[in-house]
Symmetry: C2
Subunit: 364 residues, 2 copies
């Protein structure tokens, strides 16, 4: 953990040292940043995520850039301080702390968020490692996992056993960089809703199948994605994803978890989960399990067609194209809770076990 932090401090020192050196030599200091627009994004299955093509922009210190230039350096200094005091700051707290920067303070939080994104892209590390955090829900965990954290008060190692929370769960913090893991689980199952998560806990699913359950609560947050990624990497765990059968479940949830999103491509490297495979619900399940459906809305149809045309991940995978075409042809969407038609325990006792037996049929 200490090593990780030193890496970030070194990167900050390098960047600041470069600027300082140029100024000492009476040259114009510069900073180089990757361009963060969709046109600079591509999907490489080998990398496993939507990534930047590598185009950079250079920010040179001039009369016009002086304010942003100063803000960028102050933001780096704030990160150094945070690491030094072992504190984390939300984006909003960072914005308010910058009230004391005199002429370099921000006119709005959008401005400070942009500078934070710049700094993140410039250093090539996710901002959580710079001790900045998002103010969002990190997902919930239950199952065969021990999370190893540190007790701040004593500095002692703390083992958090995720089988011992009864009907409750472990709530993932917004910064997961320093967590460690102990597990014998066979796989991780990430589910769309808290309702389905609690269903599976209630049916003793993780006990019977030796797995870890994660509730994403809709589109997974940065913390939730990073948690799954780190855990899957370090413990070589397969990640199965279980969402509704609709464009929102497919693209906004599954695609985001697996390969990241287009508008934060400088981050996907840290947040993607290339191990993820889509278990269900699929359009095939509608027929196989005679599930109650809802008609696709116009917005669903548009989202699906748009993904077929423009989403590099979908365009790369024939399996997804076929699934989407089938969904559009059938004209319906299905919720994962629809399985309750066959009884509350059906999902845990029949549907998921059937799926797990045929994992080669999971969508990529």
């Amino acid at each position: 953990m200490v090593k990780q932090q030193n890496e970030v401090i070194e990167k900050i020192r390098d960047e600041a040292g470069g600027v300082y050196g140029k100024i000492r030599r009476k040259q114009k200091p510069q900073m180089k940043l990757p361009i963060r627009t969709l046109s600079n994004v591509r999907y490489r299955p080998s990398g496993g995520y939507l990534q930047l093509r590598g185009k950079n922009k250079t920010r040179t210190l001039t009369v016009n850039t002086v304010k942003t230039f100063a803000q960028t350096l102050k933001m780096l200094a704030m990160s150094m301080e945070l690491i030094g005091s072992d504190r984390h700051s939300t984006k909003r707290e960072a914005y308010y702390q910058a009230y004391n920067w005199g002429e370099a303070s921000f006119a709005s939080q959008e401005e400070s968020d942009t500078v934070m994104d710049d700094v993140e892209a410039m250093l090539g590390v996710n901002r959580e490692r710079m001790h900045f955090r998002a103010d969002e829900h990190g997902g919930e965990v239950a199952g065969e996992l021990i999370v190893v954290d540190t007790d701040r008060r004593t500095g002692r190692r703390l083992e958090i056993d995720c089988t011992r929370f009864g009907s409750g769960a472990y709530s993932v913090p917004t910064v997961v960089e320093e967590l460690q893991f102990k597990t014998q689980a066979k796989f991780l199952l990430a589910v769309e809703t808290k309702g389905m998560f609690e269903r599976l806990v209630e049916e003793d699913f993780y006990d019977k199948h030796h797995c870890i359950l994660v509730s994403m609560g809709g589109v997974p947050s940065r913390a939730c994605r990073r948690f799954i990624r780190r855990l899957a990497d370090e413990k070589k765990l397969p990640v199965h994803v279980f969402t509704d059968a609709d464009p929102y479940g497919y693209f906004n949830i599954y695609r985001t978890l697996k390969v990241g999103s287009g508008n934060a491509a400088h981050l996907n490297e840290f947040f993607c989960v290339p191990q993820a495979r889509f278990l269900g619900v699929t359009p095939e399940d509608i027929l196989e399990y005679k599930l109650p459906t809802h008609p696709l809305k116009e917005v669903d149809r548009k989202r699906a067609l748009d993904a077929m045309r423009n989403d590099p991940f979908i365009r790369h995978h024939k399996g997804w194209q076929q699934a989407i075409e089938r969904m559009l042809k059938m004209g319906v969407r299905v919720e994962q809770q629809a399985l309750a038609k066959h009884g509350l325990e059906f999902v845990a006792k029949t549907y998921l076990p059937n799926k797990l037996k045929a994992s080669d049929r999971f969508l990529p």
Copy 2:
């Protein structure tokens, strides 16, 4: 716990027995339900919540009501089954299970939700006790509290120590009816955002002030409100609430937590937290702590004026009227994170300790 469940089962048997008896005597069976509209709501400070005035409607079995009548009885039967099998069903799962009710199945989930609300109001218990649950986030907890739950797999008692989650937290389940508590804490502090919650955890706030921290994550969910209510009742704990100084923080978050909401008045009895007092942020704090502000938006202004005119809780409390008038006059709102202007630790080391010393100045 078993006693609680028996109470609900008895209520269901009474209701169903009444219907059955009438039918046997060849009379038209009836069900009596409280009317759930704003016109039937009042605020009584002695009761501590927005409550129904007591007007009822009677549903008699006729050709026109036969479907709803059947659905209501089937919903009661489903609850009996759930309690018997010690399972809980989300509202959505209940809707899908009802697919097997033949002619009594629902056309949409809105229909089944309405029948569930009816049943809840009719029996006068919250639906969690009937083993129905909402699919929502229950809030997060850290601090001097041991939650006592049951391990489903062994039936054994499980003690969950909320000081042992490191940077993470205990995630409250959607049904908290059967949880028990052990604590020596002096108070409970409910905060608006996860960011502020993590700030206070990071500053060892609960350790130094012997308290329990709860992150509501915006407007508190049913589970979060019920959790705080049960805990505060059973352990005689004061509840302090810490939100932004804006109409959303005052009415949507604080007012909902304390007295409930107008459109679910048949439930406020179970979900209100009469112990709650508003610690801050107040309009006075802006001047006292020289906090950075944002101008009130038109929607804020409208919400505030509407509350002054129509909200029975606000109309009852002069302290709140003065605070709102002051806010409108100043024309600004403040976020709780604005305290970070004075350093990240300021909120934990200065602001909150100052407030706690003058708890008689909390808003009602």
